[in-house]
C-alpha cells in the first residue's frame, strides 16, 4: 500500500512531466481551447537541431561543462581523500569553509570576479565562464567525494602499496573503480548545475559566450511550444551524455577495457 502511494505519486509528479515534455516536442502547437492533436511531427527537433545558433550554443555548453567537470574532479577527488583519510589541525573548519559557497549567493562571487576577469581577458570568454561555474559545483563534488572515501577503507589502499604498486597504479586499479559511484554522482551534479547557469554565464560571458541557457530565454518569446519542448528535453539529455563520456574515460583508465578485450580473445 505504502509502496503504491510512493510509486504512484512519484510517477505522476516526476515521470509524467518528463514524458509530457517529450510528447509535446513531437506534437504540433496546441492552441488554447482547441483539442490536443497527436499528429506526430519532427518539426520541433528539426528547428532545434538545424538552428546554427543552437548548435554552437550546445557545443560551447558541452565544452564548458566538460572543463568544469574535469576541474571539479581534479579538485574534489584529492580533497575528498585528504578530508576523509587524514587528520590535521583545522580539518573540520576547512571542511565547513569548503562547503560554505553553497550557503552564499553565487551571484556575489560572479560580480566580484567580473572586473578581474576583464583585466585578465577572461571576461566574454568561455574559460572565464567555466571558472565561475566552479563556484556552485566544487563544494558538491568535494562533499560527494569525501563521503565516497569515507566508505573506502584506507587499509585497502595501504594493502595495494604493500604489494608494490605505485600511487598512480593504486589510484587507477583500486580507488577509481571503488569510487566510481561517487564520481558518477559528482559528474552528474556538476554537468546539470553547469547547464543550469544563466546569470553567472550572462555576467561573465557578457553576451559573447552563448550557452544553451542564454538562448533559452529569448526562445521563450517565440511561443512555439513544440520547439521549446524539444529544447527543454535536450537539457536533460546532455548530462546523461556527459556521464556516458566520463564512464568511457574511466573504463579506459582503469584498464578494464583491455582486460575484457583479452577475455574475449
Amino acid at each position: 500500500m505504502k509502496k503504491w502511494i510512493f510509486y504512484g505519486s512519484a510517477f505522476l509528479l516526476f515521470f509524467i512531466p518528463a514524458i509530457l515534455l517529450i510528447v509535446k516536442s513531437f506534437t504540433p502547437v496546441w492552441r488554447w481551447g482547441e483539442p490536443f492533436t497527436f499528429d506526430w511531427t519532427l518539426r520541433g527537433w528539426e528547428t532545434f537541431l538545424m538552428d546554427a545558433r543552437i548548435f554552437d550554443a550546445m557545443a560551447i555548453s558541452l565544452v564548458i561543462a566538460l572543463v568544469v567537470t574535469f576541474l571539479n574532479l581534479f579538485t574534489g577527488i584529492p580533497a575528498g581523500k585528504a578530508l576523509s583519510h587524514s587528520e590535521f589541525r583545522g580539518k573540520s573548519a576547512l571542511e565547513v569553509l569548503l562547503v560554505l559557497p553553497l550557503f552564499l549567493p553565487a551571484m556575489a562571487a560572479a560580480v566580484g570576479l567580473h572586473i578581474t576577469m576583464i583585466r585578465l581577458g577572461l571576461a566574454n570568454n568561455w574559460l572565464g565562464v567555466a571558472i565561475v561555474h566552479l563556484v556552485p559545483t566544487i563544494p558538491y563534488t568535494i562533499k560527494v567525494m569525501k563521503s565516497g572515501y569515507d566508505r573506502l577503507n584506507p587499509d585497502m589502499l595501504q594493502q595495494g602499496k604493500m604489494l608494490g604498486a605505485g600511487g598512480w597504479h593504486v589510484f587507477r586499479t583500486i580507488e577509481l573503480p571503488m569510487l566510481m559511484p561517487s564520481i558518477r554522482s559528482a559528474v552528474f551534479l556538476t554537468v546539470t548545475i553547469s547547464m543550469s547557469q544563466y546569470v553567472l554565464t550572462a555576467i561573465i560571458g557578457g553576451g559573447n559566450v552563448i550557452t544553451l541557457p542564454i538562448i533559452y530565454y529569448p526562445f521563450l518569446q517565440s511561443v512555439d511550444d513544440t520547439v521549446m519542448a524539444a529544447f527543454s528535453v535536450a537539457f536533460a539529455i546532455l548530462p546523461v551524455l556527459a556521464v556516458l563520456f566520463v564512464e568511457l574515460v574511466a573504463t579506459v583508465l582503469t584498464g578494464r577495457f583491455s582486460i575484457s578485450k583479452r577475455g574475449a580473445l
Binding site: F6, A10, F14, F15, P17, W30, W32, G33, E34, P35, F36, F74, T75, G76, P78, A79, K81, A82, H85, S86, S92, V96, L98, L100, P101, L102, F103, L104, P105, M107, A108, A109, V111, G112, L113, I115, T116, I131, V135, I138, S147, G166, G167, W168, T192, M195, S196, Y198, V199, I203, P213, Y216, Y217, L220, D225, M228, S232, F235, A236, P239
Partner: protein, 288 residues
C-alpha cells in the same frame, strides 16, 4: 600525476585551497566595489540602499517566497523520506526522484508555465471539458503577485533535492540503538528523540541553509515566473548591476555583499553550534 604519489593532505588540498582563494578573492572584490565611489572609499551606498523603496518591497517579497518554498520543501521532502525511504532506495524509486534533478530550474519553470499558465495545458483541458467558461476564469498561478508560480516551481524542484540529500542519512541511521531503546523501555518517541533527530538534524539544517541561500538569491526562476514589481532580490541586483548609473552598480555590489555576509554568518554559527554533537556522533560504537 605527481600530486597523487604523495598522500600528504597539504598537497592533496592544493586545488581545493586555490578554489577557496578564488571565493574569498571574489567576495573581497565585490565588497571593495561596494565601498568604492568616484571620490574614494565610502559607506554611503549601504546607507542609501535601505532608502530604496524597490529594495524594501523586494526584501519582503523575496523573504516570504523563500520562507514558504524552503519550509514546505524541507517538510514535505523529510516526510517523504521518513515514510518511504526503503522504496526510494530501490533503483526504480531513485530514478524517479532523479528526473526533476536533471532539468535546470528555468526549464522546470517553463514547464510550470506550460502546464499551469492561464493559457496553459490544464486551463485548455478544463475549457475543452466544459469546466471553464473562458481563459480568464482560470486562476492566475504564474507571473502572479504572490509568487505562486515561483513557489510551485521551487517545490517541484527542491523536494526531490531534499529527498536525495536526506536519503543517505536515513539509510545510515544506527538501527541497533532502536533495540537498545526497546529493551530499556522506550518507544517510538524515544527513538525519535535519542536517535533519529540527533542524527538527521545536521543534514536538515544544511539543506535548509542551502535552499535558503539559493532561493533567496537565484535569478532564473523569478525572471521567468515573477512580475515586474516587486522583484526578487536577485532580479533587482541583476538590474542594478547593468544599470546605467554608478550608484546602481554599487547598490548591486552592496546588496549581494550584505546577503552573503548575513547568510555566511548564519551558516558558520549553525556549524559551530552543531560541531560538538556531530563529532560525538561520529565516535559512536555501533556497527552497520
Amino acid at each position: 600525476m605527481k600530486w597523487y604519489q604523495t598522500s600528504k593532505p597539504a598537497v592533496l588540498l592544493i586545488p581545493a585551497l586555490l578554489f577557496l582563494l578564488l571565493i574569498v578573492y571574489s567576495l573581497v572584490m565585490a565588497f571593495a566595489e561596494s565601498i568604492r565611489s568616484p571620490e574614494g572609499w565610502t559607506w554611503a551606498y549601504y546607507g542609501e540602499l535601505f532608502m530604496q523603496r524597490r529594495l524594501i518591497e523586494s526584501l519582503g517579497y523575496s523573504l516570504s517566497i523563500t520562507f514558504v518554498s524552503v519550509f514546505l520543501s524541507v517538510l514535505i521532502g523529510w516526510a517523504v523520506v521518513r515514510w518511504f525511504y526503503s522504496f526510494i532506495d530501490e533503483p526504480g524509486g531513485k530514478w524517479l526522484v532523479w528526473i526533476p534533478m536533471l532539468f535546470p530550474h528555468f526549464v522546470w519553470g517553463y514547464f510550470v508555465l506550460l502546464l499551469l499558465g492561464q493559457s496553459g495545458l490544464i486551463s485548455s483541458f478544463f475549457y475543452q471539458a466544459g469546466w471553464l467558461s473562458s481563459r480568464e476564469a482560470f486562476p492566475v498561478l504564474t507571473q502572479d503577485a504572490y509568487g505562486v508560480g515561483i513557489i510551485i516551481t521551487y517545490l517541484w524542484k527542491e523536494i526531490p533535492f531534499v529527498i536525495l540529500m536526506l536519503l543517505p542519512a536515513y539509510l545510515q541511521l544506527p538501527k541497533q540503538y532502536g533495540e537498545v531503546i526497546a529493551v530499556l523501555g522506550g518507544g517510538r518517541k524515544e527513538w525519535f528523540k535519542t536517535v533519529e533527530w540527533p542524527w538527521v538534524q545536521p543534514v536538515i539544517v544544511e539543506i535548509t541553509l542551502i535552499l535558503t541561500a539559493f532561493i533567496f538569491t537565484a535569478y532564473e526562476v523569478p525572471a521567468l515566473l515573477g512580475i515586474s514589481y516587486p522583484q526578487m532580490t536577485a532580479v533587482l541586483a541583476y538590474d542594478w548591476f547593468y544599470g546605467a548609473a554608478w550608484e546602481e552598480r554599487s547598490y548591486a555590489f552592496g546588496l549581494l555583499c550584505l546577503i552573503a555576509f548575513i547568510l555566511g554568518a548564519i551558516a558558520l554559527l549553525s556549524f559551530a553550534l552543531m560541531n560538538r554533537r556531530r563529532w560525538l556522533l561520529s565516535k559512536s560504537s555501533h556497527q552497520y
